[in-house]
């Protein structure tokens, strides 16, 4: 710990000790403790005893958590579903409309520790949430270039099939060519 020129945000006393904890249990996302390594400043006031914290670029942190959840392996918990919806500034009613279910269904799934979606339903939900997240970023984007690189790669993987469907809306005849001893598709599948 070191004494700095900071003042206590509560009582304005200059008698404060400032520290940057190497690991901090962040509770602000409502997802249970998330360990932050760096980016946190803590002040302990010698006059009023208040312990105050400041999280650097917290809005970016919250969007990075959303990005991590969108890419998370395994099923989302109900709280994680709720967090992602909130990070897109979506109401339960709007999300329900996007998915084609009742609002009560969203509320019920979000209230469970394990929402109980099968892999297909969860993939569909994540595609919808990812689209809403991208839309939200158009008006309130705190992510850096490196995060956008990760997001672009993720979108490419997730939207690959649906984009190909959109790019070729008309019915096309399939053609297959025999090359040596194997059949090769003539439409490029990449």
């Amino acid at each position: 710990m070191r004494v700095t020129t900071e003042i206590c945000p509560v009582c304005e006393s200059a008698n404060v000790e400032s520290s940057t904890p190497p690991a901090y249990r962040y509770r602000g996302a409502g997802l249970g403790p998330i360990t932050l390594h760096g980016g946190v400043q803590q002040l302990i006031c010698g006059a009023c005893g208040a312990r105050s914290i400041h999280i650097e670029r917290e809005q970016q942190l919250l969007q990075v958590i959303a990005l991590m959840l969108l890419m998370k392996p395994g099923h989302l918990t109900g709280r994680e579903m709720r967090y992602l919806r909130s990070a897109c500034d979506l109401s339960q009613a709007k999300l329900a409309l996007s998915i084609g279910v009742r609002r009560e269904t969203i509320a019920e799934r979000e209230s469970r520790e394990t929402p109980g979606l099968d892999a297909g339903a969860e993939f569909f939900l994540r595609v919808i949430l990812l689209r809403h997240f991208l839309e939200y970023l158009k008006s309130d984007d705190h992510l850096g270039a490196e995060h956008h690189g990760i997001l672009r790669d993720h979108c490419k993987a997730v939207f690959g099939i649906s984009d190909r469907v959109r790019e070729h809306p008309r019915k096309r005849a399939l053609a297959v060519r025999q090359v040596g001893k194997i059949w090769e598709p003539e439409l490029a599948i990449t």
Binding site: S52, E58, Q59, S86, D89
Partner: protein, 100 residues
């Protein structure tokens, strides 16, 4: 402090030019009342200042009350202590359903 000055400080908080502090008490209230920092930043972004900032002699800051809707649709009040120069602090967040 005028509403415009308060709005300017809120804009500085949003753009990370000013720092928002909070106490462990605020984090406890956040968790207990089932809010997240997404709600806090949403209310700051909306900048719906309820009434003129009031100077708080004891803490030397201006208390600003922001009114809006949390991400789950609850009508919510966020109370901040702002300073023209110096640290601003999140004081509390309250669900005001049924509160006059």
């Amino acid at each position: 402090m005028t509403r415009d000055e308060a709005a300017r400080i809120l804009a500085e908080l949003l753009s990370d030019r000013a720092r928002l502090w909070r106490s462990s008490h605020f984090d406890d209230a956040l968790e207990h009342r089932e809010y997240t920092m997404l709600d806090v930043w949403k209310l700051i972004r909306e900048r719906n200042i309820e009434d003129a900032p009031a100077f708080e002699q004891v803490h030397g800051n201006h208390v600003v009350r922001l009114l809006g809707w949390a991400t789950d649709g609850r009508k919510t009040r966020l109370v901040l202590g702002l300073r023209r120069v110096g640290p601003s602090i999140a004081i509390t967040i309250i669900d005001i359903r049924g509160v006059r």
